[in-house]
Symmetry: C2
Subunit: 316 residues, 2 copies
């Protein structure tokens, strides 16, 4: 394994002073609806509004001092961008962020608010990587990939670690899967700290590369990309894929209608703002609830950065 | 005083097993924006999604057994209706609810979900009272007024009591004012349990009867009623008014634009769903923030029952 139990423990100690220990919430209504006992790890309350600060902060704090001077750089459709911008400011260095030009306004504003330099590019993987490469060559900044980076994956593992510490004896754990940073971290934390816990993932039907990759045993691209879960559009990386392949119990695909139904439940019944990507694991559980009846289930609520102007389209 | 310190303490013991002790949340961002240290008592997480369960439950649990048999009745535009319906079901009796025919769908559905019998009426005070009177005459049900009832006011006082217990030394406390049930209860709890705490209220400009009533020293009707804060439309009662008159430090009127700006802050920065009426006290504080700089301020978040279909209109 490229990430050890000790590395996750060290990462947790490293980032602890600078992140929130987010609450674990429960809901009798959602327990009744699902038939399971649910524990929601609320990373929507995390700094920058999403778990991504864990990985970014761990990567930045792991850098030797002399590397920090040239700044850090990344490409991201949103939360990782904010996380890198925040972590850079925290460490007194500069952040260079490549963002697709269709990024949600609320995320662009937040990144700018942390003082990062934004370069927009076309919304595809190739444009992101080219633009990023140009910036790194020019500035010497350290590239911190949004998910395919062991420092980042190790940081993301700390969310599940905290949930496992707080709620021992979970039968299952649900996380969303986009590029696989959070999912691989969750799998490793379950493996090391709660080996009896089965980890499941939810993936949007409109970005269904991970199910396909598991099936064909190589990293695949999604057949098509069209979903409101804008944090889960990317494909797996060569560092996240092997961990997911080895440990994930199952990956369930979820339609946008199912995502919106779960968003509505969380808004109306739990009174929490979560973003569409964050509703995917709950939707996955509810879609297959007969399998999880009476089980003790942890769900990672990944983030709450919603463009409020978009709510209209979801709930009318 | 018609409500004693002991009565509030007894009410609290009476209802405690059946309500949530809601969390008190903080937000560094909102502290920075306001210049004050803010403590939010999150009654949006309360049973039925609002503080109203406190008063309703206290009233129902105070009834002698032989009175309960004929059921309980009320008129309400929303949260009190849910609270009475829930309390009736909890006590194994029937609830008769008169609701204005323009009540938010989410509130009507919730009341129905608790098994109450709903009678719709025109959306004005006279129609509410006439319809209610007819039901009470026919059924012998006990009328529990949404706010102008000492049992209800005493129950509502327990929200501020919990906040005061958890955060000692508050300089100020902010509550919304509609009919004055929550405000009068908050004033009494501050008076008895934290006499150094000044209590302020926020009132919508489009339902500004309370400021007027304080000024003219008698219960006034609002000059016009037009606001998104649909929980604060009613005027004060002869039981709530004298307490408010005696103890409230000031009442600030708030426009719908200011309410929406505070809603947006809470949604985006605190990741909490609150209803428009609930944003009014925060908006009041922010409008006069220079007066409260460096102060330790408690804010009662009254509820989170939002008709999601309406969000569109607020944030576009």
């Amino acid at each position: 394994m490229n990430i050890s139990r000790e590395q996750i423990e060290e990462a947790h100690e490293r980032i602890k002073p600078f992140i929130h220990r987010t609450p674990v919430l429960t809901s009798r209504t959602l327990n009744a609806i699902s038939g399971a006992e649910l524990f929601f790890k609320c990373e929507n309350f995390q700094k920058i509004g999403a778990f991504k600060i864990r990985g970014a902060m761990n990567a930045v704090l792991s850098l030797p001092k002399d590397k920090l001077g040239s700044g850090i750089a990344t490409h991201s459709s949103g939360n990782h961008a904010q996380a890198i911008a925040y972590s850079a400011r925290h460490s007194g260095t500069k952040a260079f962020i490549v963002m697709p030009d269709n990024s949600p306004a609320v995320k662009v504003d937040a990144v700018r608010g942390y003082g990062a330099e934004i370069t927009f590019c076309e919304p595809n993987q190739q444009a992101r990587e080219n633009t990023l490469q140009e910036i790194v060559s020019r500035t010497g900044a350290e590239f911190i990939h949004p998910y395919n980076d062991y420092r980042v994956m190790t940081g993301q593992a700390t969310a599940a670690k905290e949930l496992i510490e707080e709620i021992p004896g979970l039968d299952c754990l649900f996380a969303p899967v986009g590029g696989g940073g959070l999912l691989s971290g969750t799998l490793l934390s379950a493996h090391y700290f709660s080996p009896g816990t089965m980890v499941y993932a939810g993936e949007p039907e409109g970005a269904a590369d991970a199910v396909l990759s598991i099936k064909s045993n190589k990293i695949e691209t999604a057949p098509y990309v069209n979903t409101i879960a804008d944090g889960l559009l990317t494909k797996l990386g060569d560092k996240t894929f092997p961990i997911i392949k080895q440990f994930v119990k199952d990956i369930y695909t979820i339609s946008d209608e199912e995502i919106i139904a779960s968003l509505r439940l969380v808004y109306e019944r739990m009174k929490l703002i979560i973003e569409p990507s964050c509703a995917v694991p709950l939707a996955a559980l509810l879609k297959h609830k007969e399998k999880f009846r009476q089980k003790k289930v942890g769900i990672i609520f990944s983030g709450g950065n919603v463009d409020l102007g978009k709510l209209a389209g979801w709930f009318t």
